[in-house]
């Protein structure tokens, strides 16, 4: 192991269950324990004058959630298919993360973890929590706390 695995990977020896999501051409992994709910093809309401990374408002169980767009965060062009929203709970309340599609659940072993490469641009360094080497390619780790709109606005 070349770097200390982040806290979210250290939970068990047997590995952590990650949910894979796709945005653009990259496969991301989100710890499944943190996901409260996945909203399929939700109706989002754009917010005029909002920061560019805000994907819009989503209705979730009587609350109006602010959704962060992973594509906008990575400065990718908008997705024209139906997207999915992952719902998380942060210190300031619920928030959503807009992704292209939710994939499968996979178990990731701490041994497979690598820290962010130093060549990664600063924006991505701040967002990504490292990567896991899978047989079929890299799974980029996402830490939901870093995607919290409260934190992004600071």
């Amino acid at each position: 192991m070349t770097a200390a695995a982040p806290a979210m990977l250290q939970r068990s020896e047997a590995g952590v269950e990650m949910c894979s999501v796709r945005a653009g051409g990259t496969l991301f992994g989100v710890p499944i324990m943190r996901i409260l709910e996945i909203l399929g093809a939700p109706v989002t309401q754009p917010v005029p004058l909002a920061p560019s990374y805000i994907g819009g408002l989503v209705h979730y169980r009587g609350e109006v959630l602010t959704a962060v767009s992973l594509r906008s965060l990575l400065e990718l062009p908008p997705y024209d298919g139906a997207s999915d929203i992952l719902v998380f709970e942060g210190p300031g309340g619920y928030f959503g993360v807009l992704v292209d599609a939710v994939g499968e659940v996979m178990t990731v072993l701490p041994e497979a973890f690598e820290a962010n490469p130093s060549t990664l641009d600063d924006r991505r360094k701040a967002l990504f929590a490292g990567a896991c080497k899978l047989d079929e390619g890299l799974l980029v780790m996402l830490d939901p706390d870093r995607l919290d709109p409260m934190r992004l606005s600071q």
Partner: protein, 768 residues
């Protein structure tokens, strides 16, 4: 802070609130044993618990107070102004320490000697009198105070044990006291010093009697009430909001199955009741705010050398907790104003033939979906001419305008920012100190402020507060394909412009769009431009101008379209989106779509719409036009006919489901929460076969004091009517007017029959 301390703080604060109330009442009836017992209990509970928690400042203060109160209770002293002031002083010190404990976790350093000495010196007078006759009490009265810590702690343990097991405040204090008296003389010491100095049995039996009676009373209320976390209530409110939304969607879903329709109706009813119940749970009686005024009035009156009697009415009227907090300051300000500047000094009053004692009345009552809180004084009132002169001097109104305005309109000038300044306080008959602040605070929560005054007779300030904050009536406007909600409270009127009118009538001063509204220039704000929405709407469609008045800023918001007004459930926005500064929240509408709630004041600021004297003038002018606008009508269509409703009488226009019409006998009526209005159905809309879930439009109007509803098929326009003269006579024809070049009948609101007056029980059934 541990649970025990928190419990102690809440309990003590409640106890002190009760004590404050009782103390001011005690001034009226100094012999009232029940009041004295109540006050005694409050102080005693604090003392008992503090000994255990180790707050020595609180303990020594409450001990001194308790001794004095014991004498009062036993009738060895009679409460007078001096004693009550000393006790109020004690109350303030106790409160200050409690606040310190709450904020810093410790009672801090402070010198309480002055307060204690004042309390002791008041008892000393009695003790010395007594010692002249019988020297023993002095000694025995001193002794227990030294003995007290040990026994005090013991009693405290009992009290706290009860707090833990019982949980409710009321029980703990009373049972603590009661068990104290039952265990005998040792524990009775903290209960009352006099229990020792007097023959024990007599004092003890007195104690027990007083306690058991009030224990039963408090127990009863403690059994049936429960303290609930406000967060839980908020959450319940959210869930109910969600349910309302789901219901709306179900009602909109059409189904051929008759059973489903019935079920959805049932769901509709249950949801409405549930919403009401949850809203009720958030309600608190206004006495929560009123209760602090007896003290305030007493202190202020003494300080100013005035005599004021405070009368309170409708204390049981309920209002949402958050709104109660919000009106606290404006009300306090108004009460201060009334005493400071309204009610005259006793000599002045007598010279004017009024009773020396002034009356300040606080009145609360519910009026439809609003609660009215009035501050009424019988003081000198406001001299309108002085207000007018001041306003002219400050260029808030021109001389011509002032001459045209009615007294009532002139009075409202005192709410203008810039009217009240230090010199205004002394020059004008007094009022006007920060009245703009009062108005702003009340408007912030969607309320309104009015003032009425008659020189020499007194002043009435009326706050009109919505029942709840969480659900507000809003107009849904559309801009670039998106919906936004505008709080109805700020909406003055709506103007529709066709594409040609929009082109011709929106004028440009350089880059600033303006619209001539009844001859006055109204600054315009294009919502889509302000929000930098990309999707431009084609020029060939009509526009709407929503004429808004936010915090005295008047402007027209240009939008692409309007949807039906809706009662919306306000949802908070995340801080990121609040930073944008234009939205106060979001909501989910009946159709499932989300809408951002616009903050009209912030929009005005962003568009740099100023409150200028000139605009205020214009506003005053508009009030005039509105009031003189007997000739303005709402043009409606009933069946195939056009009819006119006098605009001045129109309160609101509602789109409601047909199913919400109920009947008393043959009369169709409509219920809004607990307001019942008769419906006029000239067009027979109600008799047409109804499709399930279909909507209808009702124009709610004012007719004298009552409200009536007129069922119409469509609302067409607002237009000025011209009077028609009956040929051959020179009399103006009644009941008709010339509207848009067509003779149109005017709906005679007074001919709508009143609600039938059945037996009260029967009426209840219908309403429920």
């Amino acid at each position: 802070m541990d649970e025990l301390t928190r419990e102690f703080l809440i309990e003590s604060q409640e106890g002190l609130d009760r004590m404050e109330r009782c103390l001011t009442e005690l001034e009226e009836s100094p012999q009232d044993a029940e009041l004295l017992a109540e006050i005694f209990r409050s102080v005693h509970t604090i003392k008992g618990t503090t000994g255990f928690l180790g707050y020595s400042r609180l303990e020594s203060l409450s001990h001194a107070g308790e001794n004095l109160l014991g004498m009062l209770r036993d009738g060895r002293l009679t409460a007078n102004a001096e004693i009550i002031s000393a006790l109020l002083g004690l109350l303030d010190s106790l409160r200050a320490i409690l606040a310190l404990i709450e904020s810093e976790g410790a009672e801090g350093e402070g010198d309480d000697r002055a307060v204690i000495e004042r309390l002791v010196s008041l008892q000393d007078a009695v003790l010395q009198n007594n010692s002249a006759e019988d020297p023993t009490p002095v000694k025995s009265a001193r002794k227990p105070s030294r003995k007290k810590p040990a026994s005090g702690k013991r009693a405290a343990k009992k009290t706290t044990a009860l707090v833990v097991s019982g949980g409710a405040a009321g029980i703990a204090s009373d049972e603590g006291a009661q068990s104290g008296s039952q265990t005998g003389s040792q524990i009775a010491i903290p209960v009352s010093q006099s229990a020792i100095s007097r023959p024990g049995a007599y004092a003890l039996s007195l104690n027990r009697e007083g306690n058991s009676e009030s224990t039963a009373k408090t127990l009863a209320s403690a059994d049936s009430t429960l303290r609930v976390d406000i967060d839980l209530l908020n959450r319940m409110m959210n869930l109910v909001g969600e349910l309302v939304l789901t219901r709306n969607q179900i009602l909109q879903a059409t189904s051929a199955d008759a059973g489903f329709t019935m079920l959805s109706r049932r769901l509709d009813m249950v949801t409405a009741d549930l919403r009401e119940a949850v809203m009720k749970a958030r309600m608190q009686p206004v006495s929560y705010v009123f209760s602090k005024f007896p003290r305030l009035v007493r202190d202020l009156a003494q300080q100013l050398g005035k005599r004021v009697r405070l009368e309170m009415e409708g204390q049981e009227t309920e209002l949402d907790k958050s709104l109660l907090e919000a009106i606290k300051d404006p009300l306090t300000h108004s009460v201060r104003n009334s005493i400071d500047h309204g009610i005259e000094a006793p000599e002045t009053r007598e010279a004017m033939g009024k009773p020396a004692e002034g009356v300040l009345k606080l009145r609360a009552y519910q009026d439809g979906s609003h609660v009215i809180v009035e501050v009424i004084d019988d003081g000198g009132g406001i001299r309108v001419e002085k207000v007018r002169d001041k306003a002219i001097e400050r260029k808030l109104i021109t001389t011509e305008k002032a001459a045209q305005s009615s007294e009532r309109e002139l009075l409202q000038l005192i709410f203008l920012p810039g009217f009240s300044t230090a010199s205004a306080v002394t020059n004008v008959s007094g009022r006007g100190v920060g009245m703009d602040v009062v108005r702003n605070n009340v408007e912030k929560i969607g309320g309104k402020v009015e003032i009425e005054s008659r020189a020499g007779k007194g002043t009435t300030l009326r706050l009109r507060i919505p029942l709840t904050l969480a659900i507000i009536p809003a107009l849904i406007v559309r801009s670039s394909g998106q919906s936004f909600a505008l709080p109805q409270g700020v909406l003055d009127e709506l103007v529709h412009l066709t594409a040609e009118q929009a082109k011709a009538q929106i004028e440009w001063l350089e880059n600033t769009p303006l619209y001539r509204l009844r001859g006055r220039l109204l600054p315009l704000v294009f919502l889509s431009q302000l929000l930098e929405q990309r999707k431009a709407v084609a020029d060939n469609t009509g526009r709407y101008i929503a004429v808004l008045n936010a915090d005295g800023r008047r402007y027209g918001l240009v939008v692409d379209g309007l949807a039906d007004p809706e009662e919306i459930v306000v949802k908070p926005l995340s801080p990121v989106l609040k930073q944008i500064g234009l939205f106060s929240g979001a909501t989910v509408m009946g159709n499932g779509e989300m809408a951002l709630i616009l903050d009209p004041g912030a929009v005005a600021l962003r568009a740099s719409i100023a409150i200028s004297g000139e605009e205020e003038e214009e506003q005053a002018e508009d009030v005039v036009t509105l009031q003189k606008s007997d000739n303005e009508f709402l043009l409606v269509e009933t069946a195939a006919q056009r009819a006119a409703v006098p605009l001045g009488e129109v309160i609101r226009i509602e789109r409601i489901p047909r199913s919400s019409v109920e009947r008393i006998g043959h009369m169709p009526v409509l219920r809004f929460t607990d307001e019942l209005i008769p419906l006029e159905d000239a067009s027979g809309v109600l008799h047409r076969p109804s499709e399930d879930g279909s909507q209808m439009t009702v124009v709610v109007c004012r007719d004298g004091d009552r409200h009536v509803g007129v069922v119409v098929s469509h609302v067409l326009d607002v237009a000025a009517g011209a009077p028609l003269v009956e040929a051959g006579t020179s009399a103006v024809a009644a009941g008709v007017t010339l509207l848009k070049e067509r003779v149109t009948g005017v709906v005679d609101l007074s001919r709508i029959p009143p609600l039938p007056a059945p037996e009260p029980e029967e009426m209840m059934e219908v309403v429920v």
